[in-house]
Amino acid sequence: MTLARRIIPCLDVDAGRVVKGIEFEGLRDMGDPAELAARYNREGADELVVLDISASVQGRATFLETIRRVAEQLNIPLTAGGGIRTMEDGRAVLRAGADKVTVNTAAVHRPELISELSQQFGAQAVVLSLDVKRKGDSWEAYTHGGRTATGLDATKWAAEAVARGAGEILLTSIDRDGTCSGFDCELTAKIAQTVPVPVIASGGASTFEDFLAVFTDGRADAALAASIFHQETRSIAAMKKFLAERGVPIRLSR
């Protein structure tokens, strides 16, 4: 009996479409969120994350509609976030069908948001999205999609967020994001050993070996990736088989 490590595809959505950021090109359309969600559900994803990367107030209704359409396709857990500023934003996302909500920028500005969401919906429904960059021997937390430095030490902020009721940490290495050079296992292990809640590693994944490394050296409880799954070049089922054969506790679909 072992708690399985989770493989979590992530859909970055803008105006109701899944997109991928391409350097110097802007956004590339990767498809319909509900269609991709149905595929991942079928292929054995352990969970799905949907992030509103535009996070604009005007786009809110569209994002909630996307959550509703995605949730209808799933019989696995759904996490949603991006631009969550208030309790009401969080409630709307959960009402639309998400099981968990991620918070980042607004929680840095007003950490009480984490406490309020946790008291209302439970710690298992509140995920701290922690975007970090290496700074000498430590890591610094960033907000606004990785554009704004906070001056906060990532491990200290993670510990505070957990003390306030965050039940999970979605940890993204900004240095690695989009580089395909693998997860930052040193960072992931550091945070995973500091906080008493599960840590989802994100940023830099490209190969099956990257996932193996983050579950062993990185001590991650779950690993997230976006675009590497979208184009069907790497199937989730094949990756899970690869990991299971190497001794990682994995839920294999039948």
Binding site: A4, D46, I76, D99, G122, Q124, E168, D221
Partner: protein
């Protein structure tokens, strides 16, 4: 007759409803004690805080209605917090009594393991189970909780370990409960719900 899904004002109701309807079950959201009286069976879903949960039931006059349904032998399935509410109390809110169908206290997961217990875990069957019929022993189920009832509780038919052995599936008489989320546990979870629906036909 329909399956009443207790709507206490928060929680995972829509996904539980969708999962039951996908199996062909007729469901209704119950906000009124009379709906529980006329229902064929009752599903008690729940996520969040124990105190908010029991307060939500109380405010809607559903606490006594659930106790009456229990006395009448009406089939009932508690999910996650819904299972926990069937016990006498919880360390999460010691001043707020649960439904008290079972005498044990729900306990916090210890600090030597990650809490919440989030993710897919396996079960250890301790007795013959109706809810687990047709499900392989090594199947995975999705959990998301920080509190749990001890596996030593009398109605336990399958246990899971996370910090301590806890009740993952309970069955006794007309009462059943699961600590995991069947509505989020893929095809395996759908089978659990199918077993419940078939058992109350």
């Amino acid at each position: 007759m329909k399956i009443a899904i207790v709507d206490y004002g928060a929680g995972n109701l829509p996904s539980v409803e969708r999962a039951l309807r996908a199996l062909g079950a007729e469901t209704e959201r119950a906000v009124d004690p009379r709906q529980l009286e006329t229902a064929r069976a009752i599903v008690l879903p729940g996520v969040g805080h124990f105190a908010a949960f029991v307060a939500g039931l109380r405010e809607r006059n559903l606490t006594w209605a659930l106790r009456a349904a229990f006395e009448a032998g009406k089939p009932m399935l508690g999910i996650c917090l819904g299972l926990q509410a069937m016990f006498a109390s919880s360390e999460e809110a010691p001043g707020d009594p649960g439904l008290g169908f079972f005498p044990e206290q729900v306990r916090a997961l210890p600090t030597n393991v990650k809490s919440p217990h989030i993710g897919w875990n396996q079960l250890r069957k301790t007795r013959e189970s109706i809810l687990l019929r047709g499900i392989p022993d090594d199947a995975y189920f999705y959990f998301a909780h920080s509190f749990a009832a001890p596996a030593s509780a009398a109605p336990t038919v399958a246990a899971c370990d996370h910090g301590f052995p806890f009740a993952a599936v309970i069955e006794r008489g007309s009462l059943a409960g699961v600590q995991f989320h069947p509505e989020k546990s893929g095809e395996t979870g759908a089978q659990v719900l199918r077993n419940f629906v078939e058992s109350v036909q």
